[in-house]
C-alpha cells in the first residue's frame, strides 16, 4: 500500500470509476486542457491539478472543458445526470456556487422528490473550500452548511486521503446529487491509501480517537486539528473522543449522541461561520436530544461572523486552531469528577 496524497486519492477514485462505468464523465474549467493555448491537452487538470491525467486516458468525450459559466455547466451536468450519465463536475471554488443555486437547489435536489421517486440525479459536484490559502474573501469560504440545509442533496467532507478515495467512489455510485468538499490546504497531505476500490458509506461517522472525558465533533480539515489536540491532552490526563461525521447530510446523529451519553461534554469544531452552521446544528441536536447527559455547557469553535480576511495575519487568527480547540476542551472538562 502506497502513501498517496489527498489529490491523488481523489483522482484515483475518479479514474477507477471511469474504468468501471462508461457513464461516468468529468467536466469543469481546465479539467481537460488549459494554459490558454489552443489545442493544449491536460495542461492543468483543474485549477489545482486533481483531474490531471484523466483526459489522456479517457479522451475528450469523457473529460470536458467548460466555459467560465458555472450556471451553464452545472445545469448541463444536472441534466446529463437526469438523462443517464454520471457526471463529476468541478466547480473550482465553492464561493462561485452562488450563480448556480437554481440548478442545484431547485432542480437537481428536487428531481427525485417532485417526480415521485422515479427520477434519479447521480451528479457529483466537486468543489474547494476553506481558508488559509491567502485567497481572500471570495475564494476561502466554508459553505457546506448552505448545502446541508437543502433536502435532496448529500454533502461530503473527507478529512484524509483514505477517506477521500472511499467517499468519492461512494459519491459517484450514489444516485442523488452529492456536493463533495475538498479542502484546498489538504491536497498535499499523504497517507496509506489502498490501490483497490472501496467505498465508505454516507451517514456513518468515523471515530478517530476514543476517550471518556469529552467529545469533539469536527468537520473536514478540523478533524486533523482535533486529533492532534486529543493526542496532546491524553498526555495531560484528559481523554477525548473525536468524531468525524464524514457527511453533514445525511448526518450520523447516533454516534454523536452515544458518545455524549458517555462523556457528558461536547465541543464542536467547524471552520464555517458560527451562525446557521454545523456547529450550531450539532449543538442544537445535543441540547435537544441529550440535555440530561450534559455535565457542562456545549462549546463551539468556529471562524468569526466576518468575511475571510486577506491580511495573512488576520486570516491566521480567523481560522480555528488546535490551541483554540484545546482551550474549549479544557473549559468543558474543568472541574470534572476524577
Amino acid at each position: 500500500m502506497a502513501k498517496k496524497s489527498y489529490r491523488e486519492a481523489i483522482r484515483e477514485a475518479i479514474a477507477s470509476e471511469m474504468r468501471r462505468d462508461p457513464r461516468v464523465i468529468v467536466m469543469g474549467e481546465d479539467n481537460a486542457g488549459g494554459a490558454g493555448a489552443p489545442g493544449e491537452k491536460d495542461a492543468w487538470g483543474g485549477v489545482l491539478g486533481v483531474t490531471k491525467g484523466l483526459q489522456p486516458e479517457f479522451g475528450a468525450d469523457r473529460v470536458l472543458d467548460t466555459p467560465i459559466t458555472e450556471s451553464a455547466f452545472i445545469g448541463a451536468a444536472a441534466g446529463a445526470a437526469a438523462t443517464g450519465l454520471r457526471p463529476v463536475a468541478e466547480l473550482m471554488f465553492v464561493d462561485f456556487m452562488g450563480v448556480c443555486f437554481d440548478q442545484i437547489f431547485n432542480q437537481a435536489a428536487k428531481f427525485r422528490y417532485m417526480f415521485g421517486g422515479k427520477a434519479v440525479t447521480p451528479l457529483v459536484i466537486r468543489t474547494m473550500y476553506g481558508a488559509g490559502f491567502r485567497a481572500a474573501s471570495q475564494h476561502s469560504q466554508c459553505l457546506y452548511p448552505l448545502f446541508t440545509h437543502i433536502p435532496g442533496l448529500k454533502v461530503v467532507l473527507p478529512s484524509s486521503p483514505y477517506e477521500a478515495k472511499g467517499l468519492m467512489i461512494q459519491s459517484i455510485r450514489d444516485d442523488d446529487p452529492v456536493i463533495f468538499f475538498e479542502h484546498k490546504l489538504m491536497y498535499d497531505e499523504t497517507a496509506d491509501v489502498p490501490d483497490e476500490s472501496y467505498t465508505i458509506p454516507f451517514g456513518e461517522a468515523n471515530v478517530t480517537r476514543e476517550g471518556k472525558d469529552a467529545t469533539i465533533v469536527a468537520f473536514g480539515r478540523m478533524v486533523n486539528f482535533s486529533n492532534q489536540v486529543a493526542d496532546e491532552l491524553k498526555r495531560d490526563g484528559v481523554s477525548v473522543t473525536v468524531i468525524d461525521p464524514r457527511t453533514t447530510s445525511p448526518l450520523d446523529t447516533e454516534t454523536i449522541l452515544d458518545s455524549v451519553a458517555e462523556t457528558g461534554r461536547l465541543v464542536v469544531v467547524d471552520e464555517a461561520h458560527p451562525r446557521c452552521s454545523m456547529a450550531a446544528d450539532i449543538a442544537r441536536l445535543v441540547a435537544e436530544e441529550a440535555f440530561s447527559d450534559l455535565k457542562a455547557p456545549i462549546k463551539t469553535v468556529t471562524a468569526p461572523h466576518t468575511p475571510v480576511p486577506f491580511s495573512p495575519a488576520l486570516e491566521d487568527i480567523y481560522i480555528p486552531t488546535p490551541a483554540k480547540i484545546r482551550d474549549a476542551v479544557l473549559a468543558v472538562t474543568r472541574g470534572r469528577a476524577q
Binding site: P194, Y198, E204, R209
Partner: protein, 378 residues
C-alpha cells in the same frame, strides 16, 4: 557492563517511528521476568502492553509516563543487584539510540507473487539467516500484520515469510471456490518461491488448517507445524463470531465481534476496529469471507478434520491455545497422543500470539530449533 540490559521502545510494524509510553505497570527496583507485562505503549496504529524482553532487576525507569519516544529509545535499565549505581549511570549516559535495523517487522519487505492472474502478497524478513525458513499463516479475516509481535523474534534466527491468504490483506480478493485447498495451494506456491527444501509452518486458526492441509498434500516440504488456536481438530466453531464478523459494518458492531477474539476485551483498540473496517470495505473482501465460511463452515460446523494427521507424527506439531478461546474451544486439543506438544495459556483468548506474545514466541522458537536439530541428526 554486559550484565546491564537496556529496555528500548519496540518497533511494532512497518509504519512505527515513535511510541507513547502511556503507563508503567511495574515499579523501579522490581524483579522482572522475561515476558512480564511492564508497560503500556501506544502508537498511531495500536495500543498494547509491552512485555519485558529480558529478566533482571529494574534498576532505572528512564521514560516517564506520557513520553513520546522514537523507536529504540531507552525506556528502562535492567541489571543484577551486584552492578553499582555508578555503572548504571555511565551506561545510561553513554546509551546511543540505534537507527532501526533492517531486521524484523520494521524492515520486513512487502512482496507480491503473481500466479494465474492473482496476486499473493507477503512480507519477508530475516533472509540473512541460514536456519530453515518459517511461513506464518494468519486466520479468517486476518492478515500478515497479525504477526506484529512475533515476526521480529522469529526472524532473529531464520527467514520469516508472512502471507496474506487469498481474499485477505493485500492479496487478490477474488476466489475460485474458497475451499481450503485453494488457500493451501496459494501458500504452497509461496513455499516454492522460497527455494527452501522444507519450511516450518505456523498457522493461526483457519491458517493452522491451511498448514495441516499442506502437511497432508506435501509432507516432504514441511519441517514442522505450530498450530495456534487451530481449526481442523474438531467440528465446533463460534458461528456467531463468523457471521457477525462478515455482517458487521458499523464500528460498534465490529467492536463487539472483535471482543470475542481476546480474553481481555480492552485489547480491542479503535485502531484494530479501523483496520478491520478498512479491510472489509475493499471490493470483494466480504464476498471472499463469505465464500470461505460457506465452504469450510457450512451450517456452522467445520468440515476439515486433521486429528489423525496430527496424531500420525508425520511432522513435529506444537499446539498453542488460550483457555478462554471463545471462537474455537481448546478442548479440541485433548485426546491427542503425547508426541503432540500442547501448551495452554491462562486468561488468554483466541490470539495467544498477540495476547501472550513473549511466551508464545519462546515456545515457538524452542519448537522450531528442536525440529531443526532432529532433522539434522535424523
Amino acid at each position: 557492563m554486559s550484565e546491564i540490559q537496556p529496555i528500548v521502545m519496540p518497533k511494532w510494524g512497518l509504519a512505527m517511528e515513535e511510541g507513547a509510553l502511556t503507563s508503567w505497570l511495574v515499579k523501579g527496583g522490581a524483579q522482572i521476568e522475561k515476558g512480564q507485562e511492564i508497560a503500556e505503549i501506544e502508537t498511531s496504529k495500536l495500543a498494547n502492553v509491552f512485555e519485558s524482553p529480558a529478566s533482571g532487576i529494574l534498576r532505572r525507569l528512564i521514560a516517564r509516563e506520557g513520553d513520546v519516544l522514537p523507536v529504540g529509545a531507552l525506556l528502562a535499565v535492567l541489571a543484577p543487584a551486584t552492578v553499582s549505581d555508578a555503572d548504571i549511570d555511565t551506561f545510561v549516559a553513554g546509551f546511543v539510540v540505534e537507527a532501526p535495523t533492517d531486521g524484523g517487522a520494521g524492515g520486513a519487505a512487502e512482496r507480491k507473487l503473481e500466479r494465474a492472474g492473482r496476486t499473493l502478497a507477503y512480507k519477508v524478513t530475516g533472509l540473512e539467516n541460514a536456519a530453515t525458513p518459517v511461513v506464518l499463516i494468519h486466520g479468517f479475516g486476518g492478515d500478515s500484520d497479525n504477526w506484529l509481535f512475533n515476526i521480529d523474534e522469529l526472524a532473529k534466527t531464520r527467514p520469516v515469510y508472512a502471507v496474506d491468504l487469498p481474499g485477505h490483506g493485500k492479496s487478490s480478493k477474488a476466489l475460485a471456490t474458497g475451499e481450503l485447498s485453494e488457500l493451501s495451494q496459494a501458500v504452497a506456491d509461496l513455499i516454492d518461491e522460497t527455494g527452501a527444501r522444507k519450511v516450518h509452518l505456523v498457522g493461526h486458526s483457519l491458517g493452522a488448517a491451511v498448514a495441516l492441509q499442506i502437511l497432508r498434500d506435501r509432507p516432504e516440504r514441511v519441517a514442522s507445524i505450530v498450530a495456534i488456536a487451530p481449526a481442523g481438530l474438531g467440528d465446533r466453531v463460534n458461528a456467531q463470531f463468523i457471521d457477525g464478523f462478515i455482517a458487521a459494518e458499523k464500528r460498534k458492531d465490529i467492536k463487539a465481534t472483535l471482543q470475542f477474539l481476546v480474553g481481555d476485551p480492552e485489547l480491542v483498540s479503535a485502531q484494530m476496529i479501523e483496520g478491520v473496517q478498512r479491510f472489509k470495505r475493499l471490493e470483494g473482501a466480504k464476498e471472499a469471507l463469505r465464500a470461505i465460511a460457506d465452504k469450510n463452515l457450512p451450517s456452522g460446523r467445520q468440515t476439515a478434520n486433521f486429528r489423525d494427521l496430527v496424531a500420525g507424527g508425520q511432522a513435529p506439531v506444537l499446539i498453542l491455545w488460550g483457555e478462554r478461546d471463545a471462537i474455537l474451544d481448546s478442548g479440541a486439543a485433548r485426546g491427542l497422543p503425547s508426541s503432540v506438544k500442547v501448551m495452554l495459556f491462562d486468561n488468554v483468548g483466541h490470539m495467544p500470539h498477540l495476547e501472550a506474545a513473549s511466551k508464545a514466541n519462546e515456545a515457538m522458537a524452542r519448537h522450531l530449533e528442536a525440529a531443526d536439530a532432529s532433522s539434522r541428526t535424523g
